[in-house]
Symmetry: C2
Subunit: 223 residues, 2 copies
DNA sequence: TAGAAATTGTAACATTTGTTACAATTTCAA
DNA sequence: TTGAAATTGTAACAAATGTTACAATTTCTA
């Protein structure tokens, strides 16, 4: 089989392709294929193995009781599905997982995976890094949800993206996906953006956002 | 030294005291003592070691943008400090850590800890379980924050607690801590409880809650 | 037990967000 | 290029929550 996608996978960082090949041929594993739109896993279903996205993309989504879908995150190749749920006391998928494109997954049983971790320290460190990063991501997410107002969430998102570049940035999300991401209604996002533009804080043009008043934008995160 | 507190520590679950003693005498470690009220770690400071609370209690606190201090959680003996931040790409304390009482910490350097993990599979699994549990806790928290209405959050909390017992339960939290937990204003909690009582769904008396209409209570989680 | 402190109940009004609906604009594909 | 589909802008009104203030009640403590 082709181990090339694994070279890019976080779990195998720092390993050469021959090392990977040697390790992987000795580990029992399966390949599973999914068509775009098909269900990969249901929330609540047991997680009994490590799954690595070899090609394609899956998406983790939550459904609240009113049927609204809240997208939690996309996992493109070569990421892993729910690595933080293989161990721990619950061992169940926290979200529904959908293939958003034609997708190939490599599946390694938990027991086999454990012996792989014990066998190779690089892989062990990589895995510890992965699930630790996961916690760190969730902590960020919570910080995010705790911003009460939509303008606060927008300010947080915009300042986070802008700090890397300059005062101009591109939000490559539609208002709809923004609304899903925040867990709010779409027209409310439009209104918030419109108002911040009126207030002279932002300049929004065709998905490109320009920060006009950084100070007042940051203030929206405080109250 | 006295290894007794470690017997109770999640990291050493399933090990006998003689196994622990044997392992620990071969691992470089330090004991650090803190007086009540003293700073154990600053938010943003690098996490370079595993720290286990042998005695006493530490508390994680966050400072928001307006300077207000928000207590995140207490870690009593025999818990660990920020185990999910030893590895991962950030490696920095997410919160300020304060000793709330006279406290003793056992400190094991990251490198030494890693060799301990590689040496003993039980400890490895325990640690994987610990940081995975952390992720799972955070996921729960997120699910919770996603309930939009206060009545929905209340319904979720009450039904979660009640399912174990009967239709009667005790919320051992004041309205104030409930409000903090939900991230809402205190009078809003009082109003929501009052309204649900008026609607004949709950009976609230001195902290003891009785569910009168389970069906309509559950409906509040849906919309 | 008496007074202080904390908790709870309640009200009026302001603010934010949701809901629904529709028009304007942009993007995409035949 | 043109029509369909998706995205965005906007408005009116409803619902939920916040804010502030104060009284009533309960719990703690000297």
């Amino acid at each position: 089989m082709d181990f090339f996608p694994l070279l890019q996978a976080p779990l195998f960082r720092g390993l050469t392709s021959s090392e990977i090949e040697k390790l992987m041929t000795s580990v029992p594993k399966k390949i599973r294929k999914f068509k775009a739109g098909s269900q990969v896993a249901l929330a609540g279903e047991p997680v009994t193995s490590l799954m690595i996205v070899l090609s394609g993309t899956v998406s983790g989504e939550m459904v609240d009781y009113s049927g609204r879908v809240i997208k939690i995150e996309d996992i493109p190749s070569p990421g892993s599905l729910a690595p933080a749920f293989i161990f721990g006391s619950s061992n169940r998928f926290p979200v529904n997982v959908i293939a958003v494109a034609e997708t190939e997954l490599m599946v390694i049983d938990k027991r086999d995976f454990l012996s792989l971790l014990a066998k190779n320290e690089k892989i062990l460190v990589n895995f510890l890094n992965m699930i630790s990063d996961r916690s760190q991501f969730l902590s960020e997410k919570i910080k995010f949800l705790n911003f009460k107002t939509i303008k606060g969430k927008l300010a947080q998102l915009i300042l986070q993206k802008a700090s890397k570049d300059k005062d101009s940035l591109i939000l490559d999300m539609t208002q709809n996906s923004l609304a899903d991401f925040f867990g709010v209604a779409r027209p409310s996002v439009a209104r918030a953006l419109g108002e911040m533009e009126e207030e002279g804080i932002l300049d929004v043009k065709a998905g490109r956002i320009k920060i006009l008043d950084r100070k007042r934008l940051a203030e929206y995160m405080s109250h």
